[in-house]
């Protein structure tokens, strides 16, 4: 593992020496004002859109008590990332093609989620055990593949490492557009199906009795999580992407007791964290984007803790008189 981290930082250093497009010194202010180069700006906006979508998606994830499932999915992306890399190398002669990598990641994350559900159904394992098995096995397989790729005598494989911890600065423009578009679609889907997702998250049995296709809606909710994880690979990285789903949603829960406001706030917190994190990481070269985004989200959470305490005190339910019969 340590070797992977070291390579990640080396790559960054050599990329600088190789004369990439970003300037030597980027001020924090420049970064916050999104004036650090067009590509990085598009990447930052993409991360913000992702944060805005991950917030509400995470709210439903939290309410359906499936937070750990997202963790399993994100770690299970790694074998697919490697496979996508190899397929794109074989087909196009170049490995670092984001569409291939993300497609691979989506397929293997989907397989991972399927394995978790199959394990639960067929082996009577509790969800947390099934998730732990898939998470560690998937990640192990991915690390194995990663070390194989590192031995290939080609250039560009080092870029794979950054999918572990995320990197928005210096992202290719086409990739940045791809991610921004995917995040925007994700956000649109959450908004469009908000009512149905709310119903299934609260009372699936009632929904089924009323004739809603509960299984397909459940699949949609899981699919949204999966796509969030995959889209988040390049900006937040697969190890930390689950935090972008969970922390803004948990922060929003501290602020509000209504699902609509909670989803809105989670989206705001998510995109604010993405903005802060991507900017900090663009200004300070050695800070991985994923870590900066997740720490920003964590900071927002900690700052919100007093709000919850105050809210609790102000909105404590008064002793209610029974309504008349």
């Amino acid at each position: 593992m340590a070797a992977v981290w070291r390579r990640a930082s080396c790559r960054r250093w050599s990329a600088d020496a190789g004369g990439r497009s970003y300037p030597d010194r980027i001020g924090m202010l420049d970064a916050l004002l999104l004036s650090v180069g067009y590509n990085t700006t598009v990447a930052t906006i993409g991360a913000m859109l992702l944060g805005a979508a991950a917030g509400p998606v995470g709210v439903f994830l939290l309410l359906r008590r499936r937070a750990l499932l997202a963790d399993a999915a994100s770690h299970a992306t790694l074998p697919g990332v490697v496979l996508g890399f190899l397929v794109s190398l074989w087909l196009t002669g170049e490995g670092r093609s984001l569409p291939f990598i993300l497609a691979g990641a989506a397929i293997s994350a989907g397989l991972g989620v399927f394995c978790v559900q199959a394990l639960q159904a067929w082996s009577r394992l509790t969800p947390s055990i099934a998730i732990a098995v898939v998470l560690s096995a998937g990640f192990g397989l991915g690390v194995l593949g990663l070390s194989y790729v590192q031995t290939l005598p080609i250039a560009g494989q080092a870029g794979l490492d950054q999918l572990l911890v995320g990197q928005t600065a210096g992202m290719r423009l086409a990739d940045a557009y791809l991610i921004a578009a995917a995040a925007a679609i994700l956000l649109l889907l959450v908004v469009v199906f908000f009512k149905e997702l709310r119903l299934v998250a609260f009372d699936a049995e009632f929904a089924a009795a009323a004739g809603w296709p509960v299984q397909r809606l459940d699949l949609l909710a899981n699919g949204l999580v999966l796509v969030t994880v995959v889209v988040g690979l390049s900006s937040v990285g697969l190890i930390l992407v689950v935090a972008l789903l969970i922390i803004p949603a948990a922060t929003a829960r501290l602020w509000s007791g209504s699902l609509d406001r909670m989803a809105l706030l989670a989206g705001l917190f998510g995109s604010l964290a993405a903005y802060l994190g991507a900017s900090v990481s663009a200004a300070a070269h050695n800070v991985p984007t994923g870590a900066a985004i997740v720490l920003s989200a964590g900071l927002l959470f900690v700052l919100s803790l007093p709000v919850a305490a105050v809210r609790q005190r102000l909105l404590a339910p008064p002793v209610l008189p029974e309504p008349p019969p």
Binding site: L63, V192, F194, K195, E196, R198, L199, A201, F202, D203, E205, F206, A208, A209, A210, G211, W212, R253, S256, G257, S258, L259, M262, P317, L320, E322, P323, P324, P325
Partner: protein, 261 residues
């Protein structure tokens, strides 16, 4: 949409009543929860589904709704395959089946009863909210519309659930233990609301655990003990023999005589 059910010609039974079950069985992991139940509810009846714990009362309701697979037999609601009659059937699940810490107000929950009518993509509008408030008023909860559901008492939560079913504006209501863990005031409100439904010509089928109140609340009964022990007009089926049969030795003779007089 939904797959065709067993190819049994059940059309001749359609006129029999709003709830018809024939040879209905439900099996969970090899163990029967419901066995070969035949039942017909007459239109406009208030039916109590009565039986000891684990007698398959909830399974019966869920099987009637098509929510759990039928191991044998079939059920029809309002003369149709239950999967086709859903728009005309209101359902009140067990209160304990949902998480009451869910971020929602009483009004939010009642609005869910209108989702089907709204259909895909259309958000809850002002008109829907006003209608939902009215439903809350019918169960004496108008003042609690904006209160988070987690802050309501058990009886109030159950009233919210009933209000959501009222919002469905159905012809047939199936309710799973609506009186369980409910305070006396709420119980009165609930039974009054059910009687209003009956007066409007709707059929109400209620899973009920309290033998004491059953004769007061229902005019028909289905007495279950995995199989159907008896069903029909309450005074005919609510007897010492049937209860003894359903409950086995769990009812003392003195209790029995107190119940059936």
């Amino acid at each position: 949409m939904s797959p065709q059910l067993h190819l049994i010609d059940n059309a001749p039974y359609a006129g029999n009543g709003p709830v018809v079950a024939h040879g209905l069985s439900v099996v969970y992991e090899g163990k029967p929860a419901l066995w070969n139940v035949d039942f017909v509810a007459p239109a406009g009846a208030m039916v109590g589904v009565i039986g000891p714990n684990g007698a398959g009362k909830s399974s019966f309701i869920k099987a009637c709704l098509g929510l759990v697979p039928w191991a044998s037999g079939w059920a029809m609601l309002l003369g149709q395959d239950p999967r086709k009659s859903r728009a005309r059937v209101g359902y009140v699940p067990q209160r304990a089946s949902v998480d009451w810490d869910f971020p929602a107000s009483a009004l939010d929950v009642v609005c869910m009863g209108y989702y089907r009518k709204l259909g895909w993509l259309r958000p809850v509008d002002r008109k829907t909210k006003a209608a939902a408030r009215e439903c809350l008023g019918r169960v004496g909860m108008a003042d609690f519309a904006d209160r988070p559901i987690g802050q309501l008492s058990g009886g109030q939560q159950q009233r919210v659930f009933l209000a959501r079913a009222l919002a469905q504006d159905a012809d047939l209501y199936l309710m799973d233990e609506p009186f369980a863990g409910v305070d006396a005031a709420s119980e009165q409100v609930l039974i009054k609301a059910l009687r209003t439904l009956q007066a409007e010509g709707k059929t109400v089928l209620v899973v009920h655990h309290d033998l004491q109140t059953a004769p007061d609340y229902f005019d028909h009964a289905l007495i279950l003990s995995t199989r159907a022990v008896a069903s029909g007009p309450l005074e005919q089926v609510f007897t010492a023999e049937t209860l003894q049969d359903a409950y086995g030795g769990r009812l003392a003779p003195s209790q029995l005589s107190a119940l059936v007089g």
